[in-house]
Symmetry: C2
Subunit: 627 residues, 2 copies
Amino acid sequence: MKIRYSQLTITPGNPAKNYETCRQAALKAKKDGVNLLILPEMAIPGYLIGDKFEENDFIEDCEFFANELTKEATEDFSLIFGCVMFYETLSGKPRTGTDGRKVKLNTAWIATQNKTFYKVKTLLPNYREFEEPRHFKDNLWVKNSLPEWKMFTPYNIGGVSFGVLICEDGWDDDYDLKPFERTSEEGAQVLINLSYSPFTVGKNSSRNRRFSTHAKNLKKPVLYVNGLGLQNNGKTVFCFDGSSAAWNSKGELIAHSEMFKEEDVDFTLSGGELFADVPLNYKEKTEIEDIHSSLIYGIKNYMAQSGLKRVVIGASGGVDSTLAAALYSEAIGKENVLLVNMPTKFNSKTTISIAEKLAKNLGCWYTSVPISESAQLTSRQINGLKPKNAQGEEIEILLSGFNMENVQARDRGSRVLAAIASAWGGVFTNNGNKTETTVGYATLYGDVAGFLAAIGDLWKHTVYDLCRFINAKAGKEIVPIEVLTLKPSAELSDNQAVDKGLGDPLVYPYHDRLFEALQQWWNRASLTDILQHYLEGDLAAFLNQGKESDLTEDLIKTTFPDAKSFITDLERWYKLFKGMGVAKRIQAPPIIAVTRRAYGFDYRESAIQPYFTRKYLELKEKVLSNN
Amino acid sequence: MKIRYSQLTITPGNPAKNYETCRQAALKAKKDGVNLLILPEMAIPGYLIGDKFEENDFIEDCEFFANELTKEATEDFSLIFGCVMFYETLSGKPRTGTDGRKVKLNTAWIATQNKTFYKVKTLLPNYREFEEPRHFKDNLWVKNSLPEWKMFTPYNIGGVSFGVLICEDGWDDDYDLKPFERTSEEGAQVLINLSYSPFTVGKNSSRNRRFSTHAKNLKKPVLYVNGLGLQNNGKTVFCFDGSSAAWNSKGELIAHSEMFKEEDVDFTLSGGELFADVPLNYKEKTEIEDIHSSLIYGIKNYMAQSGLKRVVIGASGGVDSTLAAALYSEAIGKENVLLVNMPTKFNSKTTISIAEKLAKNLGCWYTSVPISESAQLTSRQINGLKPKNAQGEEIEILLSGFNMENVQARDRGSRVLAAIASAWGGVFTNNGNKTETTVGYATLYGDVAGFLAAIGDLWKHTVYDLCRFINAKAGKEIVPIEVLTLKPSAELSDNQAVDKGLGDPLVYPYHDRLFEALQQWWNRASLTDILQHYLEGDLAAFLNQGKESDLTEDLIKTTFPDAKSFITDLERWYKLFKGMGVAKRIQAPPIIAVTRRAYGFDYRESAIQPYFTRKYLELKEKVLSNN
């Protein structure tokens, strides 16, 4: 028996197009003598489409095209693919859910021998960006509604029993139901997992461990079939990387598709064992390689999906915009990238020459648009302005130095870059990193603006790592090496002069790890944890979590002369993280997710006042009164 | 037995403060000889706090303060209030949920006679802005985990059996479990519903019908206790209006608190019947009155929560900014409102004089900042700019008339208003209405900018209604009456000259209702529905849904000479609604929700290509080929 999986690209919200993609895969498979073709979860509707799942006419279209696709099945050819469907279609019984709308299910369609069977997803994830219970009922719910329903029965295809599972069904650690075990107990000889699961740093090794373990424990071959594509939930953009794979009944990896690559992989099933038709050729990549591939894929496809070709990048000569320029040039071509340097008197020759060199290294377009004249005009128009009321009383509007810093930042983003981008028929980019984004260290409508925050889920240290990786990969200087040793700075005032070693108020090796612990750890650190470890002298070890890092206990000691200064700094940034940072993120562009907690839909925030717990306040009180 | 409910204000994410508020209510109740005090759902943590529910140290603080509050109970005084708690605290058994985190519950704490009982919420809403299953397990889940658990047992307080339910437990139409009935069957003599439920147009009458019906059907008194406060989910801001009420065992309304007003209401329970201590004094308000109260409450509290006092409003002389100015002046005081008119040669004397009159009527601050010089500077700097690449090749950047329209819009928002606002120590407002917001008829970083979109959930016709309401309520002209008859226009080019009757491309009486059907109806209309009704000649009736409106079949006939022009218009706006509109909403400010589908967290959107279903395309094909 010949089995194939197709790692193909799914377009969110376009069943007509996805049907055509799947049908082509089916036609090819039939031509190639394949007996069973396996396609990803939600191959017809796409997955991240928001409340579009509430539109009945859309679901009807998905069912229609899924039905058409099942017609490709023949005596010798079966296929399995994922689709959404109404419970009514499955059961013949009309039924509304707790939102008053028709009940829908996330299902696998098994088309074999002129019959179609439906497998319902058992475990519906409801964390991070996932919210399947908002739209779907699960397998157990169907069982409770239809007493005759078989939850885990395998399907006979060509005399072999195939167990069919969907994505989260394989990630059962935290659930009571164990779909892999149950399906195996019901007699499945081969276990298939249809997935549509996005890239996250470290997820691929975790997938490999998990499905290998299922195969080994159950002593049955496992096929993990994941789709490709770029899908989003508005604020957060996810790269679906594929990385489909298969394991034999010993749990040994026998095939593994590359990330982000459309690919058909063929297997022979013989005597209950699965054999890949071509030898395994897979080497796990480093985290930074994976991040690089994801961002390139994300940028390229986000542009394509939005019908965009060209970007304008405000190139300050700092490391963030430099990285952005390098990534966009690689993803969409240097001829589609225009760097704009926008100096004032506060910008150093150093950074200007880095921006120029960057453009030269990349071969992209470059120009300079000074913003002093405009900043002066604004100052002239606004500073000293005297609004009046009906009684003739007046107030006076006075621009401070800090106000003028923000005027400059907005002038760059909303005046210069926006105008150039629209005139050139393109968009301009947001180059903020995750560290800045965490504490809102950026100006709304200034550097917070842009159509996409490509590096918005990278901590500052990863920004540097990625720059080094790009140079190493190219075997030459793409990122001007000066930028790697430059003091990070906004260059908006004399207090931020890079050539004098002045710059950002963030001590990145420390604050990167601190923010990561507060925002990104699955079991997030509390302020009490942080302060406690600081007092115990092992905060660097706590924050590093056994990973390599530039953060040392010494650095913490040097940065903070005493507990009071440590606490002041901690609370300063915590308040920004939970306060102004949130307000800015609400209006910030979409972020390409690479970590386990990207800002946006993956990490849901309300704009509320920062809160300090009793325990923290007691510990702080104790510390400060001892000082 | 004397019973009181306190309709009090809950601060999201601040258990220490909420504890103090509740404790004061308890102390007062004891002093007043009350035997049972009832407080709202989630009175300690607040409700819309996003993923803060994942922070264990926060939950611990909530439990601590809830525990402290139970200590107020005495021999003669019991109290019931809502709080979050760990399942482990309830059961003594550690347990993690499907997200790998400790299981949490939305509970009512019943503190009586030195004992505290916990009631778990049975029905967890998972639609619109609600996503309780993301954070909590429900009553049935607890029952499945603890066989001895009683799901619906009432609590004996002073010899009377009280059934305790939480919010959605009362809205059981679409659920299998019927908590009110079940609790009544278990012997409850009085039914209490603790709620924390936000204002939506029409919700209050629906609440009154529902709980009156429960009381009548079960022949038992019902107390509905809802909290006050402004809470948000980042993109969407909800006004929790209270409107607490009580019904006797015949289902007759015996008490009803005003919206948005802190209030204690006392009852006497005697012979199984509930009597209010003061006579009922309640008259249902009109929709427009309710919307007005909500927006005033929303603006006032959003400012206060954000630590803001002053706003700057770009006053164009159009109806949207005029309404915004009137609302802000009422909410935060005219002395905290500054109107800025920013004319170019395209702005008519008409609109400028409306803006001036508005400032006079309101008594707020006013100034004019022309933007021609800045627009010219941008044109001079950008138009004809010739970026080069390393080979010395060059491209030319040319600003079109349309580009210059956007330059002006951004100049107003991101340059002038932002600078004045920051200099004055305030923020500037977004004045977009829901109609524009739907199709993205506004410029990003221009009129899309602002700290809050106070009228972003109002269709254009409601904007007019609210203006008329404000004048009628004041008994004088607040909103200059000229604005009510003026042709809506952006005044960004000669094609939008209001004095020539030119203006927006939207035919509001039609497009308002069209967009409402596509976006806001619970069972949304599809494009096929729209086209079908157009062809049948009853589209106005279909869109009006029996409500009064300016939309007539004649207007549709006059606006669209034939089916082709109807379809062109329909697809034009649909593409913007699903395309550019989404992209702009991602970066738009928070909206105060008043309808059943506010943009943002209440209506989740992915940025995907607009999709036309088969049915629609077939119908369109048929129509066009017949033409």
